[in-house]
Symmetry: D2
Subunit: 336 residues, 4 copies
Amino acid sequence: MIKIGVVGLGRMGKIHLENLSKNIQDAKVIAAVNPGDEGQNFALQNGIKNVSNKIDSITSNPEIDAVVICSPNNTHSEYIIKAAKAGKAVFCEKPIDMSLEKANETISLISKLNVPIMIGFNQRFDNNFSKVKNDISAGKIGLLRNIHIISRDPQPPPISYIKNSGGLFKDMTIHDFDMARFIMGSEVAEVFAYGNCLIDPAIGKAGDIDSATVLLKFENNALATIENSREAKYGYDQRLEVFGSKGVIKVKNPLKSNVETSTEIGTETDSHLNFFMDRYKLSYLEEMRCFINALINNKPMPVSGEDGIKAMIIAEAANKSLIENRPIKVDSIKIN
Amino acid sequence: MIKIGVVGLGRMGKIHLENLSKNIQDAKVIAAVNPGDEGQNFALQNGIKNVSNKIDSITSNPEIDAVVICSPNNTHSEYIIKAAKAGKAVFCEKPIDMSLEKANETISLISKLNVPIMIGFNQRFDNNFSKVKNDISAGKIGLLRNIHIISRDPQPPPISYIKNSGGLFKDMTIHDFDMARFIMGSEVAEVFAYGNCLIDPAIGKAGDIDSATVLLKFENNALATIENSREAKYGYDQRLEVFGSKGVIKVKNPLKSNVETSTEIGTETDSHLNFFMDRYKLSYLEEMRCFINALINNKPMPVSGEDGIKAMIIAEAANKSLIENRPIKVDSIKIN
Amino acid sequence: MIKIGVVGLGRMGKIHLENLSKNIQDAKVIAAVNPGDEGQNFALQNGIKNVSNKIDSITSNPEIDAVVICSPNNTHSEYIIKAAKAGKAVFCEKPIDMSLEKANETISLISKLNVPIMIGFNQRFDNNFSKVKNDISAGKIGLLRNIHIISRDPQPPPISYIKNSGGLFKDMTIHDFDMARFIMGSEVAEVFAYGNCLIDPAIGKAGDIDSATVLLKFENNALATIENSREAKYGYDQRLEVFGSKGVIKVKNPLKSNVETSTEIGTETDSHLNFFMDRYKLSYLEEMRCFINALINNKPMPVSGEDGIKAMIIAEAANKSLIENRPIKVDSIKIN
Amino acid sequence: MIKIGVVGLGRMGKIHLENLSKNIQDAKVIAAVNPGDEGQNFALQNGIKNVSNKIDSITSNPEIDAVVICSPNNTHSEYIIKAAKAGKAVFCEKPIDMSLEKANETISLISKLNVPIMIGFNQRFDNNFSKVKNDISAGKIGLLRNIHIISRDPQPPPISYIKNSGGLFKDMTIHDFDMARFIMGSEVAEVFAYGNCLIDPAIGKAGDIDSATVLLKFENNALATIENSREAKYGYDQRLEVFGSKGVIKVKNPLKSNVETSTEIGTETDSHLNFFMDRYKLSYLEEMRCFINALINNKPMPVSGEDGIKAMIIAEAANKSLIENRPIKVDSIKIN
């Protein structure tokens, strides 16, 4: 039984707390930290007795094996380090830090401390994407030539969010960078990014883009294309297509139902799932299962700290490419 | 080169004449018979020189190898016999005759005269249905247990047509009876039919039904269900599903295009093809190719006169079942 | 907060207990009854303190508002009556009783006692089927003409189960009878059933059939066809299609994933869900939510005792039709 | 009646000759030119009396209204000029010339001579793509943000063909450049191309690539991505997806049939159409119908000489981008 402390009870913290409490046999949440009442009450209602607004109540608790960090992005690296120094295993939502340098330092430290850490790239645990990975590993479509990822949110976040997001590539595309690496099994060598502001000029004023297409060239010479948009009127659009020497694999969007209606107008299927809370609901559970499982069996983490850093570096290269309008070699991104 | 005379230049006659003239290398239409000017002009424009309103101009022409009969239903058996007595091979649109007795006599005579005859059950030559037949023959779904046919017209024919149609089972379901036999590779032993008038009361007044569900029990104990409707607002609906010990095969409706649109409302595909002229266009060509091919290679006809009779007997049993509200054994249908 | 006692902790009891404990805020399981240790331990592990092997521990507990009955079929009516006499609301898995007479007596008694009862026709709460019902109620496909239900299990149950099942129609088709009534919103007037033993002769020896097609004629003159099979090599097959004056609605099978692979062979989608535990997982939760919701808001039960009786009568008519090989009027089924 | 001379009776010439002869009422092929016997015999068998190996037999024939040029690529501009100088309308397969300069001169001359010319970008006339264009024009998906084109051939052409093809972008992608312009209704401003040789090293040795991803930035700020491959083991893959402010439109691949089979393995649909002769069969007919229709009604050509030039310029920019590994502005491509 892995005993867990959850840090931060916003949207993600609540999901992880519930999954760990109700749906994972080998884990038990025994403490939670959150500054505000609403999150604290949530923890209490879920039977957590040790609820506090101080991170120390978790890091200093010798019973706790692992810390799940879901606090605001700008606290991640601090809490990772505190937890690691206290000898706790760490699960942390992405990003490790808003600053690539700080993130890198954090992961280096974790590595020296030899503490297990897993980064929350939950999409790897979606049943569709993990099946793709498995089918590819089984050789079903031969050698990979091309990956195509479409990732479109149903509507843009508030401008206040945009301003603190780190920009589209670090905030949204980062999941796709990780997915591309995960699926390809090769590292990104070069990045070219086109982006613009087609949806809301206020996003542009805030210094960000709302639409982008990013090309990745991998070390194995294969390519990936990522299409991002902050808005899709038809709903959350999360697709993946992988082309290989023997065939092609596609992940289509799950829909709200399998109901199909034909009338004079044509044939209509149901609408897309609303957003990531619906689309990736089961992936959050599976992700946490894999974290607990790796801890119990002393296996390598399925998403490493290194994976978190690699995706950030690609995002950095994409930003540079966008500004300089030229392809950027990933190894030209220096971490000071 | 098979030399053909076409009898009757209505809708079907025109299709066959064009296919034989333009798209089948080993056939040539050298004569056509039609009472009215419009059909005759069509033949002339298609380069047929020998155009007449007399069937004898074809039956007495020693150059002609085969006659394609597309005249009104009540003339079929007469023209079949004339052509056969003149030693011509015959292709005839269904039905052989409105009267089962007359149809049976005609086919018996043809059999004695040893003249090749093919009945126009064109749906067997649709690329979808013939693939199903081939896949079943190759054992893809094992032993057959159940067939399900959905056949719905986009809108009912005029009441005048209904009155002379011989009723839903003989006019419309007859194609499905043939398809069920073709796919099952076993004979129908018993028939149970439910029918009613849900679309247009005028059809009921004309003594017919517009909606029906027919159950067939085959000699091999497997079952088939046929659903018919004279109206489907979403377009011509022609589906087939076959369930076997190893799997299930489905034929879905071809649509006007492969375009799929997602908006706020949902995901929409294109509408169904309008009617049989679009849906079965290529089957008419393939059917005629097979007829010519059988003649040239002296092979058995792909749809025999016997096939025409068998479908009519099932229709008769369905009518009896509808009236008496009980299952009817097919071998209880006596041909006087 | 509705306080619940769960009777019977086999497969269904466990599902309901878990859903009520973890996923429904307004309900709390406070007692459970089960004869064997395994089920009792399950309850204890889920935090139920009051665990017993005596039904009285629930019926005599004044704290308990409602009883969820998941014990063997032959105990249902006895426990329903006990619970109702103790003034508890009842949720009971189908069937009410193996005997139609006994079932009818039970429901009559419940009615006199004025106790809420809900029968576990969970498929009504499947998101696909309930959307179909809603879309039909909203007039999306106009007046209904025809329902088609396909229900095939992945593999037959053991012969021992078959022997005590009450036969295919009462055990399996009964869900489809309820679904047809639910969707059509009209009562069944007449039933015609074909059935046979195509899968396993041992099922025939046990006096049952493994394959059936049932035709229902409704009071509104519309029809329904139900296709059942105890085995489908491709997996659990649960489809529904409703044809109306303005269009057609189809429920397709959900698959294990949305992954689609194209290779030299063709295009392949993922396999079907294994069985009802996967396919209807969410419907069990939704069903229980609706039960609790009806109790809290003092609303009529979404599936009544009458609904349970009606489906049994149709099954009885289907059995009679199968034996006598003729259509049977539902009102000819007399309950002694 | 438009009287036509066909120049070149290879694969495309035969298709156009047959369509013009058999399927287009207002056109008649009265002359054909081809160097070899095989093509000449084809014309004779199709009833063309005036068959020659000299282009002059067409250009000097006063009866001829229009010339359809399907001869080898390196003869196009010469024959276009000859035909135009003789006052004939011209339909010419792409490219206008292997040299952009020569092509530009040719179109300039045609423009001065005021002769109608249409370039054979047949994909615009595919029923799927033209429906997309119409739906977009009708505002169905709002303002366009992104186009995604996938175009993969089933297998690479012979190396001998590759050597004279002008390279992937001019030979294969050129159709996609035209499609992107056609759909977007805006001109391409900038091009970035990644390409490599993943399929056959011999293609690399011949100085070409076999795989490419091209990004287009349009003047309206929207983007397009084109994915090309010379080989797809699963068959010819021709898809288009357009993302707009109100929704997304997708063109899926038509398959050989609508047959779908489910077995223990999963659900399988039929394979892709083999290659462009099957996939675009009807587009060739529609294209020729539109050409004849424009001539008869004196309307602008649906694909202009300018369209031919524009696509070539984009190809040139793509080549430059590939070599220099940087985005290339289209207006930086100078035609000497």
